[in-house]
Symmetry: C2
C-alpha cells in the first residue's frame, strides 16, 4: 500500500510540450530529407537564402540575418562561410560603415532558392493534407500566441518565415 505517491509525474502540459517537440522534430526532419533527396539546398541554407531573397537588394547585414535565424552571430559567420564556399552567397562591404558586411545572394544562390521554395511548399502541402484551411489558421493562432509569450517582439517584420531549419 505504499507506492511513493504518484507525484504529478503527468500533467497535461507535459503532454502538450511533448507533442510540440515531436511535431517539430518530425516536420523538420521530413522536410530536410525531402529537400536533400530532391537535390536542393540544406534546411539551414534554405532558411538563410529565403530570408535574403525576401530582403531589399537580396542582401542583409550579418547581424540582422542572425537575428532572423536561430543562429548566433558566430554560428552565422560560419554558415555564410559555407554558403560563400559553395557560391550561393557573397559578402559585400558597406560604404557608410566599414564594420558591417552584407551577405548577398549570388545569381546561383537566387536560382537555388527559387527552385527550392516551390518544392518545399509542395511537400508541406502534402504533410498538411489532413488539415482544413480553418484548422491550419487555428494552429497558426495558437502557435503565434505561444510564440509571443517568449518573444513579445517578434510579431513585426513581415512575419517569421522559417522553413525547415536545422
Amino acid at each position: 500500500m505504499a507506492e511513493p505517491a504518484a507525484v504529478d509525474e503527468t500533467s497535461p502540459l507535459l503532454t502538450t510540450v511533448g507533442l510540440l517537440v515531436e511535431a517539430h522534430a518530425g516536420l523538420v526532419t521530413a522536410a530536410e530529407q525531402r529537400l536533400q533527396a530532391e537535390g536542393h539546398v540544406s534546411g539551414q541554407a534554405f532558411e538563410i537564402l529565403l530570408r535574403l531573397l525576401r530582403s531589399p537588394e537580396h542582401r542583409l547585414r550579418m547581424t540582422d540575418l542572425a537575428a532572423q535565424t536561430t543562429l548566433t552571430a558566430s554560428g552565422l559567420t560560419r554558415a555564410v562561410d559555407r554558403l560563400e564556399r559553395t557560391g550561393l552567397v557573397t559578402r559585400e562591404a558597406c560604404a557608410s560603415d566599414r564594420r558591417v558586411s552584407y551577405a548577398a545572394l549570388t545569381p546561383d544562390g537566387e536560382d537555388a532558392i527559387r527552385r527550392a521554395v516551390p518544392a518545399h511548399v509542395a511537400h508541406l502541402e502534402e504533410l498538411f493534407a489532413g488539415f482544413g484551411d480553418d484548422e491550419r489558421a487555428e494552429l497558426d493562432r495558437l502557435l503565434r500566441r505561444l510564440r509571443d509569450t517568449f518573444n513579445p517582439e517578434a510579431a513585426r517584420a513581415s512575419e517569421p518565415v522559417d522553413a525547415p531549419p536545422a
Copy 2:
C-alpha cells in the same frame, strides 16, 4: 514593370512552419533556462530521467530509451555516460541477454527528477497562462495530428512525455 514575378515566396504553410519553429525554440529555451536557474538538471537529463521514473523498476534498455528520446543510440550512450558520472543513473546488466544493459535511476537520480518535475510544470503553467483549457486541448489535438503524419506509430506507449529537451 518587370519584377521577376514574385514567385510564391510566401505561402501560408511557410508561416505556419515558421511559427512552429519559433514556438518550439522559445519554449525549449525558456524551460531550459529556468531549470538551470533553479539548480535543476539540464533539459536533456530531465527528459531521460523522467522517462526512467515512469518506467517499471525505474529502468529501461538503452535502445528503448533512445527510441523515446530524440537521441540516436550513440548519442544516448554518451548522455547516459554523463548521467552516470554525475551519479543520477547506473547501468545494470541484463541476466537473460548479455547484450543489453539497462539505464536505471539511482536514489539521487530519483530525487533530482522528483524535485525538477513540479518546478518545471509550474513554469509551464506560467507560460501557458494565456490559454484556456479548451484552447490547450485544441492545440494538443492539432499537434497530435501533425505528429501522427510523420510517426503513425508513436501514438501508443503512455503518450509522449517530453519536456524541455535540448
